[in-house]
Point group: C2
Chain length 212, copies 2
């Protein structure tokens, strides 16, 4: 949805409002930075998030003061950023990053129906570690009651990305310095078993070969 | 500095106000999420940042509307998050992430002195790719004039972190499901040369062996 908040002023060629592009970024990301105002005071909270259909799902403890504020339906801005690489240019000025990011605006709505909460809690775990829910105890009524679940409609957003080599000024193009991109990836290491486990169960495939 | 904004309500054992701990996180991070309010409207912008002494340095184009707002000295909240791993527990409810994060509050101050701007621009590039400034053309007067540089004092902040295995309820400890941590790391791939380079200069060591 176009909106003054999402209309690009700078480098509009890097910006789109494509829903599928936004979903691809939200689906790969593990952490969202959720911003809101309490009077003049901004807060930015890192949160695990998961997209379910046309909503971004956020959650936290019912007792949490800042999440309570979100549940009141204040305006929210969520920033989700995937860093793809560092761009080394001929001039210091042209150094940049390759990234894919979403800036999402709206008001969160609290989900209170226990059945829907259970479904969304399931989706959150499966978003972060696909396959994991088959091996865990689902939340009981007390745990669901202690969890606040919010859905933020993915309606007003912008997608911003940069990829490719540096863009230097014509006057610098004869420079013989090395320039290009250093790609960055998030990778998983060998799973670390909890020493409190009874016995030595096999590491499940979804943990052994975790990829994002 | 202790402050109602940084006083933990939830899980206080995960929170500290240690300056050195904050610096270690800020120095490893490449991206900060910068939040501020424009009336009731929150914004969260991903930005490259660098710590220089007791300040966090932010920058962007002078023409940028949102950065102009920051330069006016509005209240800012910066979230910086390093994701260290995924925590797989016995119960869905106990799934978590291991992370180190800083939440920094304050008002940014614009740096206008050209000499100081040149020093801070240098520090930003060196923060992101240590060693790079020896190989690039430093900013000229026009480029410095087109760059807005802001410093945000690192005074009012909280450091929040989690590490280690899952913490399950006693009733779940006999579970035979695998549980533990999937560590996550940001790694660099092979540098990708800019096809527009004249000749084939050697890849510098700081790009070939980039580590964060």
């Amino acid at each position: 949805m176009s909106d003054p908040r999402t209309r690009p002023r700078q480098l509009p060629e890097r910006v789109s409002d494509d829903f599928e592009a936004a979903c691809a970024i939200l689906d790969q990301a593990l952490v969202a930075h959720v911003g809101f105002c309490d009077g003049d005071q901004p807060y930015v909270l890192p949160m695990a998030s998961a997209r379910v259909g046309h909503d971004l799902i956020l959650h936290g403890a019912v007792a949490g003061r800042l999440l309570t504020r979100l549940a009141e339906g204040v305006e929210v801005c969520v920033g989700v950023t995937l860093l793809d690489g560092l761009v080394l240019s001929r001039a210091a000025f042209g150094h940049s990053m390759n990234y894919r990011s979403v800036m999402l605006f709206g008001r969160a709505v609290e989900v209170t129906d226990p059945g829907t909460k259970a479904q969304l809690a399931h989706a959150l775990v499966e978003h972060i570690v696909p396959g994991r829910m088959a091996d865990t105890r689902p939340p009981d009524d007390r745990e669901l009651a202690a969890t606040r679940l919010l859905r933020l409609p993915i309606e007003t957003f912008s997608v911003k990305q940069r990829s490719g080599p540096p863009q230097d000024a014509a006057k610098d193009m004869a420079s013989t310095t090395w320039c290009g991109e250093i790609p960055l990836h998030q990778v998983a290491g060998d799973p670390v078993p909890d020493p409190a486990m009874p016995g030595d169960p096999a590491v499940p495939a979804y943990a052994k070969r975790y990829r994002r």
